[in-house]
């Protein structure tokens, strides 16, 4: 027990440095907390929007149900590639395995680390919904106790499930020669399959709904712990609380005990990088001359391709974007009629604003696919090589932004061109969409690198820590979400003024160009100097 506590203390002291901001600037220190607060306020407002009509039909708890199911699905989906990163490819494996500690203890501590981060991020979504419910229903003390148990225990099962998937992916990848690329392809494939299954679950849910006595009965049938949690909120019973704790904790215990041996054998297989036959012994090496820019971009792309958690985190949105565009192209009438049948209160003809919808999708995809927010941190100890090179800091910054453009623009453009052809979008909005496909990835790229230079994590134990658990990735994602929200809000407001669609798009683009220029100016004047001060 003493060893376990020491290990937890050491692990968390090291990994929770996400919350220690080294910046001397007071505003920089508070920025993450301000952003977290803004995010929570946004979700509070959103839950308020949902709860008001539900109060009239006494279904207030449905808001909590939605947020619980949403966070569980999000934790599970993200956890699939996060777990492979957190549990495998750790730099402290050799140290920990040389110590007299049980394997199950090491696995438990790593899962605990995974759990704590999920707990923190889930709380940002769950707490606003729980507060919103409390404000309207004015529940008793048991509600607050149950809420605490809910926040603490609900992430466990999605974590366990995603860990099993992560272990499976890592096991299959460990058999391949190029483990990293195999891991990336396999994770993309599995996530795709899960998305398709979720998409095709309509019929299953409908049949469950027909046989369910209430909405909560339906939730219990779909996901038992969530249903149990909502049951306790509506009508607390002590036995339900015991069941809730048992149902959530038991899978974790089983996971640790079952996988402890398999986990370490997969881990050691993943670490074998030398080919069985030794080195290639090939003396015909290629000498290729490139410009500084293209050499740099090639290096960054190589890093992206060989870091599964990085490519999955940054590019999954792009793949999803293409999927949505293709689905919409195939089934546009179905999508629009579903929107209208779902009671979406949209005061205009959806067909007439298709270019704006595409623009919204481009903004959403670009701003949430932040590659650069981890690029400096992922340099790790090799950051000194970068700094010793004869290149100006602003050039390094821009080369990293160009990498984003090289990766993102072609994918976004494919979606835009498919949409232009299918929906017969006019010349002006088409041109504006093409320009937007270049401008928004630039904003995302330069914003990400500015944030990463301000909040670097050059001493991370693994890539997942940088990509998923660093302050810069949190700020970039939150900033991306808020930015997307702001642009879409602006579009709706401009439509209210009965402006022509092209004028609305032009106004959004002008604003985007102004923001791009400001960010470039900031990168040149401030981030370059901050970059010079960074040392490993």
């Amino acid at each position: 027990m003493k060893k376990l506590l020491s290990l937890i203390r050491a692990c968390f002291k090291d990994n929770m440095s996400i919350f220690k901001i080294k910046s001397k600037n007071k505003n920089s220190k508070y920025l993450p907390f301000i952003l977290a607060l803004v995010l929570m306020i946004s979700f509070y407002n959103y839950s308020e929007l949902l709860i008001e009509p539900l109060i009239e039909v006494h279904l207030e708890y449905v808001v909590i149900t939605l947020f619980v199911v949403g966070t569980c699905v999000m934790t599970f989906m993200e956890g699939i590639y996060k777990s492979s990163g957190i549990l495998f490819n750790c730099k402290d494996d050799d140290l920990l395995l040389s110590l007299p500690i049980k394997k199950s203890t090491v696995l438990f501590v790593r899962l605990l680390k995974f759990y704590v981060f999920e707990l923190i991020f889930n709380s940002l979504f769950l707490i606003p919904a729980l507060i919103s419910y409390a404000v309207h229903v004015n529940p008793g003390i048991m509600y607050y106790i149950v809420s605490v148990f809910g926040i603490l225990l609900l992430p466990i099962i999605p974590i366990v499930l995603s860990t099993i998937m992560g272990i499976f992916i890592s096991f299959v990848s460990s058999l391949a020669k190029n483990k990293n690329i195999m891991q990336t392809i396999f994770t993309f494939f599995l996530c795709g399959v899960i998305y398709v299954i979720l998409f095709r679950m309509n019929g299953f849910v409908e049949s469950l709904a027909e046989n369910a006595k209430s909405i909560n009965d339906l939730i219990i049938k779909i996901y038992y712990p969530a249903g149990l949690f909502i049951n306790m909120i509506i009508d607390f019973k002590f036995i339900d609380l015991i069941k809730f704790i048992f149902v959530n904790v038991l899978p974790l215990v089983i996971l640790v005990l079952t996988f402890k041996n398999m986990y370490f054998s997969i881990n050691s297989s993943l670490k074998i990088v030398k080919k069985k036959s030794g080195y290639s012994k090939d003396t015909n090496y290629k000498i290729v001359t490139s410009s500084k820019r293209s050499a740099f971009i090639k290096k960054e792309i190589k890093k992206l391709i060989n870091t599964p958690v990085y490519i999955l985190n940054s590019c999954f949105g792009l793949v999803l974007y293409l999927g949505i565009i293709i689905y919409a192209v195939i089934n546009v009438d179905g999508v629009i009629s579903k929107f209208q049948a779902g009671g979406a209160n949209i005061p205009f003809d959806l067909y007439s604003i298709i270019p704006l919808v595409i623009l919204g999708l481009v903004i959403f995809t670009s701003l949430l696919s932040s590659l650069t927010c981890s690029m400096i941190s992922l340099e790790g100890k090799s950051f000194n090589i970068l700094k010793s090179l004869p290149i100006k800091p602003i050039e390094i910054i821009m080369y990293k932004v160009y990498t984003v453009l090289v990766v993102e623009i072609p994918i976004i453009l494919i979606g835009v061109i498919i949409s232009i052809i299918k929906f017969k979008i006019g010349i002006v909005p088409s041109l504006l969409l093409i320009v937007a496909s270049c401008v928004f990835p630039f904003i995302s790229g330069i914003f990400g690198i500015i944030v990463n230079i301000k909040y670097p994590k050059l001493d991370a134990k693994d890539d997942t820590e940088v990509v998923k658990q660093s302050m810069s990735s949190f700020i970039a994602v939150t900033g991306g979400m808020l930015g997307t929200g702001a642009f879409i809000y602006l579009m709706f407001k401009l439509i209210d003024f009965k402006l022509n669609i092209s004028l609305v798009m032009l106004a959004v683009l002008i604003l985007a160009l102004i923001i791009s220029s400001c960010l470039y100016w900031y990168a040149k004047k401030v981030s370059s100097k901050e970059f010079e001060k960074l040392v490993v």
Binding site: S280, T283, G380, I385
Partner: protein, 234 residues
Amino acid sequence: MIEIKNVTKKYGNNIAVNDVSFKVGDGEIFAFIGHNGAGKTTLIKCITGIQEFDSGDILINGKSIKKDSVECKKEMAFVPDNPELYEQMKAIDYINFICDMYEVNDEDRQKSIKKYAELFEIEDKLNDTLESYSHGMKQKIALISALVHNPKVLIMDEPFVGLDPKAVFDVKKIMKDLTKEGTTIFFSTHILEVAEKLCSRVAIIKKGELVSIGTMKEVKGDKSLEKVFLELED
């Protein structure tokens, strides 16, 4: 030539390098020795432009690293103490990347890569990724990358750590050959024997301050460098 003028570097209230000044001339091999935490790596990072310093200046062939860092870096090569290279790259891709950054032309890089890869007996491993390399092999790649662009000033932090005896011998030979062409070599080491045999001048740093500097004879007199070092450390 390297000129260090009253350089001071602080980490908060802790003075890592305190008002250090000295020169290293063209064609000179200069050893920089001191115990762990004395300030060697900090000063090396300042010289290479990796780290900013609080006061003073450092000139590389007459150019200030503070004012004209890119021009200084073009004439310089750095071998870090721990070869943390881009692991996902093949060794040849990494060397090509460094050559691209220093704008080495095709013909020169072809010749240099062949020369040093053969010397370090690593030419049949250049197509392997760096993550499969041992520490010593990575160190060899770091050395090749530093040498391929023919630097006028070579800065090395503990260059012999992890190298096999043959490679140590080869590096020493390369260092001597480079000085004949006028290259300035500045390196830190804990292997006092190497410093004693290889260097024309030496500096000993203690708690961020230079405690002794001069030609090998001036610093050690009739004693061994190890004895002088231990006495100064006491």
